[in-house]
């Protein structure tokens, strides 16, 4: 071995300790990136956005060709559904009107269903794919906040996990993070059945919904939507379809496997849902602010 002096050894040890400290610091659950991190994220995100545009264009062409090949089959199927659709449409319209008039009668204006959509483009996917996340080109300057729901036209895909001024990171539903929960509702025939979506079964490629009251009857093929009770997500975003029902580990509640409605590969354009109704936490915060202000005025 060549000269391996004490100086070098100490340097090696110090740098190793430094790296371990750095890793453990960055592994903590952080909601905000530090300033230098934000700077790097924004700069790289900006450049990445330029590269993403032609790349998205090319994937768009591939998708178009793919859908062109299936046109005949699809057309047949769609024609069959078209007649049902007209009937459904008129029904929905009358229900909407009725809902509106009933709302007017009880003077209830806000609804958990309403949200302001923020359109965003996917500029990158975490290339090493150990953590399932994508990066969007909209950040806090566009009104994006942590924990907002992210969806495509087909359904829910995840929620915002980190925001910088110009970019934001989305944690997809497929994550193995045990703290990732979505309050959801199964749309049964006559009733709404509540449960929590916790976790993703990698082998089946399906979501797991737990804590469903075992007194309810659930059927395969029923749709699952977000309940809006978690405080962040709007109500009624489609999540998926039930494929199998079992009892959970302790036999007290039911558990269901859900096939996600959204397609997680080839994500391009997504929508961030900013809910209109403020959650209780925000409401309390604004109340506190008001009382503080009045106190200051009183003094």
């Amino acid at each position: 071995m060549p000269h391996f002096s004490n100086k070098k050894l100490i340097l090696l040890l110090v740098s190793m300790i430094f790296i371990v400290a750095l890793i453990s610091f960055s592994l903590r659950d952080r909601e905000n990136a530090t300033l230098p991190e934000q700077f790097i994220k924004d700069t790289v995100g900006l450049v990445q956005g330029f590269v993403a545009k032609p790349a998205n264009y090319i994937t768009g062409i591939f998708n178009d060709i793919n859908s062109l090949l299936n046109t005949y089959e699809e057309n047949k199927r769609l024609k069959m559904r078209l007649e049902d659709f007209a009937v459904l449409q008129s029904e929905v319209n009358s229900l909407k009107n009725e809902n509106q008039s009933l709302r007017d009668i009880v003077e209830k204006k806000e609804s958990l269903r309403e949200y302001i959509p923020i359109q965003a483009t996917v500029i990158a996917r975490n290339p090493d794919q150990w953590e399932e996340k994508i990066i969007l080109d909209k950040g806090s300057t566009h009104g994006v906040e942590v924990n907002m729901a992210v969806m495509t036209a087909k359904g829910l895909i995840g929620k915002i996990s980190l925001v910088t001024p110009l970019t934001s990171e989305v944690e997809l539903l497929q994550t193995n993070n045990p703290n990732f929960r979505v309050s959801a509702v199964i749309q049964g025939e006559n009733e709404e059945i509540f449960g929590l979506i916790e976790g993703f079964e990698v082998e089946r490629n399906e979501l797991v919904m737990k804590r469903i009251d075992s007194s309810f009857e659930i059927k395969e093929g029923e749709l699952v939507v977000s309940s809006g009770l978690g405080g962040i997500f709007p109500k009624g975003i489609l999540i998926g379809e039930i494929t199998e029902i079992t009892t959970d580990d302790f036999g007290l509640t039911k558990m269901a496997y859900i096939k996600p409605a959204a397609d997680f590969s080839m994500l391009q354009d997504v929508m961030i849902a900013k809910r209109n109704v403020t959650s209780i936490v925000e409401h309390e915060k604004s109340l506190e602010k008001q009382t503080e202000e009045t106190q200051v005025e009183g003094e």
Binding site: I19, L22, S26, K41, Q48, A124, Q129, W130
Partner: protein, 175 residues
């Protein structure tokens, strides 16, 4: 003058292209979910380390590793250590191994496999994944190596050609 900035320029380009290719993954083949991880940048840096300069490759490794950590992984100190280490390893083999293109390709793929395995152990250590090693080999390691082999077969000779152009230019400047 153009040749001078060629090497860092290609590195930046590959760094930006990696996540775009990652959008295609995962792929479903016969009910199996297969992950293809693009490792273009580190393959290129291994080439730089072998054909051009070990020191330069290590510096690029630190810079791009840090960018990678901050932008994608959010664990600072993972890739920014692994990238330069891989470059260092690649550069040290120059004395013992003949620098033919096919041998360099094989060596780069072995180093990428080492990188993947180290990353697997790291992520299972911090409980980011519960995948078993056999699952990891079947659904991630083998497909990734095959995909990156295809990439190197297509573009390996271009890398070698460009790096050689830079080496020749530097030799001319020194004369």
């Amino acid at each position: 003058m153009v040749v001078r900035f060629l090497i860092p320029f290609i590195a930046i380009l590959l760094f930006l292209l990696e996540p775009e290719f990652a959008l295609f993954s995962p792929i479903q083949i016969n009910e199996h979910t297969v992950f293809l991880v693009p490792r273009f940048l580190i393959l290129y840096l291994i080439f730089v380390s072998i054909y051009y300069s070990r020191q330069r490759a290590v510096i690029y490794g630190v810079i791009f590793g840090l960018l990678y950590d901050v932008f994608y992984i959010d664990i600072i100190g993972l890739y920014s250590v692994l990238y330069p280490l891989i470059c260092l390893l690649a550069g040290s083999t120059v004395k013992f191994i003949h620098q033919h293109l096919s041998i360099t390709t094989l060596l780069s793929l072995i180093l990428v496999a080492v990188l993947e395995i180290v990353l697997y152990y790291f992520f299972s250590f911090i409980n980011f994944t519960t995948m078993t090693f056999t699952d990891f080999t079947m659904s991630r390691l083998v497909p990734t190596i095959i995909a990156n082999l295809l990439f190197l077969v297509m573009l390996g000779w271009v890398f070698k050609y460009l790096i050689n152009a830079r080496v020749l230019q530097r030799a001319r400047d020194n004369n």
